[in-house]
Symmetry: C2
Subunit: 172 residues, 2 copies
Amino acid sequence: MKETGRSGCPINLTLEILGDRWSLIVLRDIMFGNRRHYRELLAKSDEGIASNILADRLKRLLENGLISRRDDASHKQKGIYSLTEMGISLVPVFAAMADWGRRFLPVTPEMSIRAEILAEGGPALWQKFMDELRFLHLDAPRPARSVLDELTEAYRCAVERKRTAEAEPEVA
Amino acid sequence: MKETGRSGCPINLTLEILGDRWSLIVLRDIMFGNRRHYRELLAKSDEGIASNILADRLKRLLENGLISRRDDASHKQKGIYSLTEMGISLVPVFAAMADWGRRFLPVTPEMSIRAEILAEGGPALWQKFMDELRFLHLDAPRPARSVLDELTEAYRCAVERKRTAEAEPEVA
DNA sequence: CCAACTGCTTGCAAATCGCAAGCAGTTTGA
DNA sequence: TCAAACTGCTTGCGATTTGCAAGCAGTTGG
């Protein structure tokens, strides 16, 4: 509900919707963490988003068409948030941002493994990932390959590797 | 100078630096508009950034290593802002964001022509553009082709086309 | 029937934003 | 030579946004 009469530049319009500290974090958790409920997004966030901010961002993302919301059949109070095609189409943006971040910022190895895979896979892998997201969030047919599983598994392994690496040196 | 103890995720760290309404706007004007002085960035901005915000963002971008500043030999008060390699490396991020914006948001045709060219050119064109930025902002040798000139010219033509299109229908 | 869980709201202090005005020093043009 | 325009940037101040904690009505499971 903002009418900040600014320019029709694609970068500017994108920033008017996504240019804050939390919108892309929420979308990232929905997209890569497959978190679909409010509480999941609230509690399992690595960054600890505040509940009122989360509610506000979900509302704005809904209004702007990046996500949709439907009721959960298994629980009358639960809502399920899904990515729309508009939200799914952000995959290349995430891939570019993540690749830039891992190259120039002090990222941790576990958190950057998925960025690395996406960067190496290139647009072809992004397409496969988007196909999978269409299956998970829209009603598209299930694709043959699960990129999300691969990303999640790679992350899990990286965390595991880190934990063992932290535990063993004490013996030496 | 923020210590908001958040996660080591590349997306998160990127947002901690660039996740606001103005940082990327400033970088966009330096990169695509070749605006190198404070006043240029202040006055020629399509979005009308406030002077204190601009000063703050330039400071933060400097601190974070995205741009550098040197004195202008021709004017004792002028400073020249340049992109660093870190800033130049944002080209793919801009290309992805601009392409997404032009596909899903109400952009104006003139403002999206450059996004279109960058999207069609793909990574190969981005590399050439980055080479040119290295020439303009760092001390790299001049590349054979000027992508910036091509982008600027395409934009100029789009504006021209729009103006004539607005002027002629009155006769009909 | 109660404890845990659901999505989300409210209050409030602190930080940030956006606008307007201003400022000391520099350059330009008549 | 001197005033006007320009330089990068700061200051004040009201309005908005943020972040934190607590709470709330309704739902579910044991």
